[in-house]
């Protein structure tokens, strides 16, 4: 005991000396980390979520630019946006480059003074290359500042497990499956057949019905004067979600959570609404289901769910290098590379005609011509206005859907709750 005590004190003393030095250093690092730029060495921190296919790009870019080190920081979708907001206000700590999703872009373009105006860096020449609405969505209201360059759009399709469909006695090829569900009601009817035949659930969750259906509506949660409009699009989407749950088709898994990932592996659902970016998630989560997935058209026709921009927060000290990297990432070659690795559909229409996209067949998805499928959905898109509070509002309504799935709220009593939750989110 005595001996231990002595050793303990010695240890602590030594540790104190050492760690004070270390703490001093790391404190300094925070203040002066970018001083390294003076020596020509630049570190670019890139924040995003999920898998945006950047691993290969990073390696390639670092190889060509030995003075640039890229740190990829993939976090949780909502958390990344909230964190960006916090750091913008705090005035420090934001990454050099941050992805911003469609659901949050209005919120951030309202703070365009906190972002590098990409027009100043020569981005104007890209305007003609982008889908017009994609370019406009990330413009400040006075049209003087462009805060982001578009990465992808989330044209919608419906992924399905052809192996499970076969077991249920349903058709398995793309065309026939697409014909099964011209409307969402047809889709639910198909689900009932599947569930009856197999005893298994059809879709992963009600929220993944709600989101794509909402994306197809002319109006989302908010109108252009930022007024909450629940009785329009949201009501339609919510009803479809409720019908699906009431029909017993939902496996009630919370998307992007561990149980959802396990649900993939345990065949707990047979279809999944697929914006182009979802393909990457499927193949990352269930790599051994290669060839078991296929892609059909989505009921209700088209729609866009998600899609992002690369933005450069002003507080970063390497804006020039950051812009160079962003500019490089949105070049056709890189866009095609990302499309091939994870499936994200470029937002520059010229690429939809590019043979590399048009003729591409995704091996993982049973060689589905993903380029053709998604490009055709993207071109006819009419963008939806997404309000400043779109993010939190969506989360609030999703929570109500989750309550119905959990059984703690009756589906016929859910709509007023959803409206209440949305109103609260709108004013918080």
């Amino acid at each position: 005991m005595e001996r231990f005590a002595k050793r303990g004190v010695a240890l602590i003393a030594a540790g104190l000396a050492g760690s004070l030095v270390l703490a001093g250093c790391s404190g300094q690092d925070l203040e002066g980390g970018s001083d390294k730029a003076a020596e020509g060495q630049v570190t670019l921190k890139v924040n995003f979520w999920g898998d945006m296919g950047l691993d290969k790009l990073k390696a390639a870019y670092e190889k060509d630019h030995p003075n640039v080190k890229i740190v990829l920081n993939s976090g949780e979708y909502n958390a990344q946006h909230e964190d960006l907001q916090k750091k913008l206000v705090a005035g420090s700590g934001a990454p050099d480059i941050s992805a911003v999703d469609e659901g949050f872009i209005v919120q951030f373009r309202g703070q365009s003074d906190k972002f590098v105006n990409l027009l100043d860096k020569g981005a104007a020449s890209y305007e003609s290359k982008y889908l017009p609405w994609k370019w406009q969505q990330s413009m400040s209201t006075d049209k003087k500042t462009q805060i982001g360059l578009g990465t992808d759009v989330g044209g919608l399709a419906m992924c399905y497990r052809s192996d499970l469909f076969k077991k249920a006695g349903l058709p398995t090829d793309r065309e026939s499956v697409s014909k099964l569900w011209a409307t969402w009601d047809d889709f639910i009817a198909t689900g009932q057949k599947y569930t009856k035949a197999t005893g298994k659930k059809f879709v992963d969750s009600g929220t993944n019905m709600f989101n794509p259906v909402l994306a197809q509506q002319p109006q989302g949660f908010y109108d252009e004067s930022e007024q909450l409009q629940m009785e329009g699009g949201p009501k339609v989407a919510f009803d479809v979600a409720m019908k699906t749950i009431d029909a017993g088709l939902s496996a009630n898994l919370a998307s992007f959570q561990p149980n959802w990932d396990q649900g993939f592996k345990k065949d707990q659902f047979a279809v999944l609404a697929c914006p182009a970016w979802m393909l990457g998630h499927i193949q990352d989560t269930a790599p051994d289901q290669k060839g078991k997935w296929d892609i059909a058209t989505i009921p209700g026709g088209g729609g866009n769910w998600g899609g992002s921009w690369w933005t450069i927060p002003k507080q970063g000290k390497n804006a020039d290098e950051a812009y160079k990297f962003v500019e490089w990432m949105v070049q056709p070659a890189q866009q095609i590379e990302v499309f091939k690795t994870v499936g994200n559909l470029p937002s520059q229409p010229a690429l939809y005609k590019d043979p590399a996209v048009l003729d591409y067949k995704k091996e993982f998805m049973s060689n589905a011509p993903t380029g053709q499928i998604f490009a055709s959905t993207a071109e006819g898109l009419k963008p939806q206005y997404l309000g400043k509070k779109n993010g939190p509002t969506r989360v609030a309504v999703e929570n109500v859907i989750t309550r119905v799935q959990q059984g703690s709220l009756k589906s016929n009593a859910a709509w007023p709750e959803a409206v209440k939750a949305a109103q609260k989110a709108a004013t918080s």
Binding site: G8, I12, S19, A23, S26, V71, N73, G75, P258, K265
Partner: protein, 295 residues
């Protein structure tokens, strides 16, 4: 279980009137204790089981209760996950816990010494203030503390999670109690007679005498600091300088949360404290028990 006293057997009768601490444990005591220990250890054990398993083993029913062979693999995944900064987070936790512990020991033993052995106007009143601060919940100032750190420019740095914990009222209190009993007045007085100044007395007489207490307080502080979660989360979430607890919560909230990976991380962040418990368990037990009697 109710307190019905059954007809007493003769052997039990002999035990009546004897203080429990003089009564030997019978087999029932030991069985109950083993059960208590098993329940205490089970979550840790199961953490290890999942940390060593494959995805399939984690999802299987009935759950597997023997460790698998994937520990190194899972651990490697945790450490190579770029956005979580796990290795750095362990180092950060060590830095924070060390600085806080050392500072607590130093400042609290100084103050404890003054309160226990020195005479100065206002001493007792100030001691009451110290005791009162013990009861202030740390939630109370959390928002203002965040704003303060922002003004200091410390938000998002390790300093922000070190500074608020540099001293503790409990530490002062504990040191005072210990020094009062462990350091004889005569020793101090005779040193004074020889002309020793206060700091000399502290270095030469008090410090050597309170080593056991320093060990106890040091261990308790280290454990508490290592495990601190809410404040580091507020400060360090999303930075490149998380503590291991923040890195853990990060590991559990990404888009690809994998239980075996999360719990491999959890296990790695727990091991240092398990080592401390094995090395310094006695001291920790003593610290908690002494703290109790005196308050």
């Amino acid at each position: 279980m109710t307190a019905t006293a059954p007809r007493l057997k003769p052997r039990r009768r002999a035990e009546i009137g004897r203080a429990p601490q003089d009564t030997g444990g019978n087999w029932r005591t030991y069985i109950a204790l083993v059960a208590v220990l098993a329940l205490s250890a089970f979550p840790l054990y199961w953490m290890f089981v999942i940390a060593t398993s494959t995805d399939e083993a984690v999802a299987q029913i009935p759950p597997s209760v023997v460790p698998g062979g994937e520990f190194v693999n899972n651990l490697r995944e945790v450490f190579t996950l770029q956005q979580v900064y796990f290795a750095a987070s362990l180092i950060n936790s060590f830095i924070v816990a060390f600085v806080v512990t050392a500072s607590t020991l130093f400042f609290c033993s100084l103050a404890g010494f003054a309160f226990a052995k020195l005479r100065f106007p206002g001493r007792d009143k100030l001691m009451i203030v110290v005791i009162l601060t013990l009861t202030v919940p740390n939630q109370l100032g959390i928002v203002a503390l965040y704003i303060l750190m922002g003004k200091l420019g410390w938000n998002g740095t390790l300093l922000s999670v070190i500074a608020p914990f540099l001293v503790s009222a409990f530490g002062v209190f504990y040191m005072r109690q210990f020094i009062m009993h462990a350091v004889p007045d005569e020793l101090i007085e005779s040193a004074r007679m020889d002309g020793a100044l206060t700091m000399r007395v502290y270095w030469s007489i008090v410090l050597p005498a309170i080593r056991p207490a320093l060990a106890v307080l040091g261990l308790l502080t280290f454990v508490a600091t290592w495990n601190e979660f809410q404040w580091p989360l507020i400060q360090l979430n999303g930075t490149e300088f998380p503590t291991s607890m923040v890195a853990l919560s990060d590991l559990a909230s990404g888009n690809y949360v994998i239980y075996r990976r999360v719990l491999a991380g959890a296990f790695a962040a727990t091991v240092p404290l398990l080592v401390l418990l094995v090395l310094g368990g006695r001291q920790i037990v003593r610290g908690i028990m002494e703290g109790a009697v005196k308050s």
